[in-house]
């Protein structure tokens, strides 16, 4: 039998993040996010396109800056997701000359999303209230992977494409699995991350679960209870170290486990949140003292934040090294892992400023290490580890 997937062996210790870009209520691209983080980070507002039925702050992307004149009230989620993904990939391609250096079949794409196809489902349900008639209208526009097809229409990416659907951990798992898959030899570069767009179904669904905060949320403080939703996303370009054109940092670990506790609530003891962080430390050969920064999942619900704070304090004691940025851009759901991975890398790049601005503990050393947590419905917990020399 022939060898199909490259040589056997252990997973490499790291893959290089050679390009990255993101979009959210904070802006478009790394520069705008950095500026927002250190100036006026909270970009949630009540005057948004969904205010007719939701009186609560949301983190809305400024689509008019992406496509002047666009009427977002007439755009479905599929279109909005493409509007976000294209400039993000454009920026990465310009920074890394991705499409000049690799043939289309050498580039893979791993995307996490939870909202592609919502429009098609809403349209089918409006036409067909009965289940049988709805089923007759199920079509490929309802499949999450349609987002990748739209991206492939715009860019020469023909390597393995996968769409990850692990709820709010989707894009973290997409990045982690891309990190592992890079070693298989199936492609030479892989774009990984995710996007999600605000839409009536998601907003009303979270409202029905009674987890939305109708005021500004203050994640990880336990001072408020509830989520402010947002939209956006982010992608990293992963390459082997010897091929990378630039280096924003390296992925040094990835772990994902299932809590098997409750369909949507986290285990209050935080044991599996602690486990994924601990697994990443073990993979990277690090101790808790080696970690400089943690971008926590920190949704703002008391249930999530209590569990995560328990895990963080168990592992890192009283060190002041973590926060959640969801209070600034909103919870971007399946895109959160991608966006927050990039914010973690940005924090490492500007670590001195971060410590000064956010009051984090500063330990003098040449290598900085960050963790980014993402936890989702269905009990999925994921942590990514990054370093930057």
């Amino acid at each position: 039998m022939s060898q199909i997937f490259g040589p056997t062996g252990g997973v490499p210790l790291f893959s290089v993040v050679s390009g990255m870009s993101c979009i959210s209520a904070l802006g478009m691209g790394v520069k705008e996010h950095r500026r927002a983080l250190f100036n006026s980070p909270i970009h949630l507002k009540r005057d948004h396109r969904h205010c007719a039925y939701l009186d609560a702050p949301l983190g809305e992307v400024d689509f008019s800056s992406l496509q002047p004149g666009v009427d977002v009230t007439r755009c479905g989620t599929n279109e909005l997701l493409k509007l976000m993904a294209v400039p993000v990939i454009d920026q990465i391609a310009q920074e890394t000359r991705l499409f000049d250096r690799y043939r289309p079949e050498e580039i893979g794409i791993f995307i996490g999303t939870t909202t592609y196809g919502v429009d098609a489902s809403l349209a089918a349900a409006a036409e067909a209230p009965e289940l049988a008639a709805f089923k007759a209208r199920v079509n490929r526009q309802m499949a999450y992977c349609g987002l990748i097809e739209k991206i492939q229409d715009a860019f020469p990416i023909c390597g393995l494409s996968l769409c990850f659907a692990n709820s709010c951990a989707s894009s973290a798992i997409a990045i982690g699995e891309a990190h592992l898959a890079l070693a298989s030899g199936a492609f030479k570069a892989v774009l990984a991350g995710g996007f999600d767009a605000l839409n009536p179904l998601t907003i009303m669904g979270f409202d029905a679960l009674q987890v939305l905060n109708h005021e500004l949320s203050s994640p990880l403080t336990l001072a408020t209870d509830g989520i402010n939703l947002g939209e956006g996303g982010g992608l990293v370009l992963l390459e082997h170290e010897n091929k990378a054109s630039s280096c924003h940092g390296r992925i040094i670990g990835y772990s994902a486990v299932n809590e098997a506790y409750h369909p949507v609530r986290p285990n209050p003891d935080g044991s599996y949140m602690k486990r994924v962080m601990h697994n990443v430390l073990t993979q990277a050969g690090l101790t808790p003292d080696d970690i400089d920064y943690i971008n926590a999942h920190g949704t703002g619900t008391v249930a999530n934040d209590t569990a995560e704070l328990t895990a963080l304090k168990d592992l890192f004691g009283q060190r002041n090294i973590y926060h959640s940025t969801k209070g600034w851009h909103g919870h971007t759901l399946g895109a959160a892992g991608g966006l927050e991975a990039i914010i973690s890398l940005m924090a490492l790049d500007a670590w001195g400023d971060c410590c000064g601005h956010f009051g984090f503990d500063f330990t003098p050393r040449s290598r900085r290490v960050a963790l980014s947590n993402s936890f989702g419905f269905g009990g999925c917990n994921a942590t990514l580890g990054f370093d930057r020399g």
């Binding site: 039998m1 060898q3 199909i4 997937f5 490259g6 040589p7 056997t8 252990g10 997973v11 079949e105 489902s121 809403l122 349900a125 209230p129 709805f134 089923k135 007759a136 199920v138 490929r140 309802m142 499949a143 999450y144 992977c145 492939q152 023909c158 390597g159 393995l160 996968l162 769409c163 990850f164 659907a165 692990n166 709820s167 798992i173 699995e177 898959a181 070693a183 298989s184 009536p200 179904l201 009303m204 669904g205 979270f206 409202d207 029905a208 679960l209 009674q210 772990s255 994902a256 299932n258 809590e259 098997a260 506790y261 409750h262 369909p263 949507v264 419905f377 269905g378 009990g379 999925c380």
Partner: protein
């Protein structure tokens, strides 16, 4: 060193009707959707046939499980989408929970006490074959010798069985205690135009209106000889795999 990948286990489970509970003995069973019940039931069927292997997955959190679905929880999506578009139907929090694509992964973990990394993929018509490709690719580089893949979907037809799940165990070593002995001799991602040798695959599926996703449907007679499989989406992307009988 030559890398070999084998299909060590295959089985399927179909949920007969809306009230069919499968073989799940868990208090949550009555809350579960057909696709969730099918996924858990196919796992239980495997555990009943090979208790040592499948029970070991509870302890071994390093063996990943890939759950793949083309369109997710159609019934739940219909229910929440109807609630959003027609105000006379209140939006049920349970239906919203169930409408997320990894709801069946969550219930699988809960009812079977699985703490592994359960990766949920959703790739339309190519869902199953991309999951098999990804699983084989991941297996080739990971320290653990097995990977479990569950492909589940709801049927679109108005009567009869409502959901089906297929379970595959891929491994790096031939033999062992499980029920299949097929080797994976080739696996490629293709784009049109294909070479003629791919067009002649014995098992072909082409995306067309009315078909959601192709199953593997491995009957005994096909397991007894080699076959190749080609699945093409409407976009022209395709996956070709060649499966050979191992002595």
């Amino acid at each position: 060193m030559t890398m070999q990948i084998f299909l060590a286990y295959y089985d399927a489970y179909e949920i007969d009707g809306p009230s069919g509970s499968g073989i799940i003995k868990h208090p949550l069973a009555r809350r579960m959707s057909p696709i969730q019940r099918a996924s858990a039931s196919v796992f239980i069927k495997g555990r009943e046939a090979y208790p040592d292997f499948f029970s070991s997955l509870r302890e071994n959190q390093h063996i990943p499980i890939i759950v793949t679905t083309s369109y997710g929880e159609i019934e739940a999506i219909h229910s929440v989408a109807r609630s959003v578009t027609q105000s006379e139907f209140p939006l049920s929090p349970k239906d919203f929970q169930h409408s997320v694509a990894n709801a069946s992964s969550g219930y699988l973990a809960l009812t079977q006490e699985l703490h592994s990394n359960i990766i949920t993929l959703s790739n339309g018509f190519l869902s199953l074959d991309k999951a098999l490709y990804f699983g084989a690719m991941r297996l080739a580089r990971m320290p653990d010798p097995y990977i479990v893949i569950i492909h589940a979907g709801e049927h679109l037809w108005p009567s009869g069985p409502v959901a089906k799940a297929e379970m595959f165990v891929l491994c790096r070593e031939q033999g062992g205690c499980l029920n299949q002995a097929l080797g994976l001799a080739d696996f490629k991602v293709l784009r049109r135009p294909f070479d003629v040798c791919y067009e002649t695959a014995q098992v072909q599926h082409h995306e067309a209106a009315g078909t959601l996703t192709p199953c593997f449907n491995l009957p005994e007679d096909r397991a007894s000889h080699s076959f190749d499989r080609l699945v093409t989406s409407a976009t022209g992307e395709a996956l070709y795999s060649r499966w050979v009988r191992c002595s």
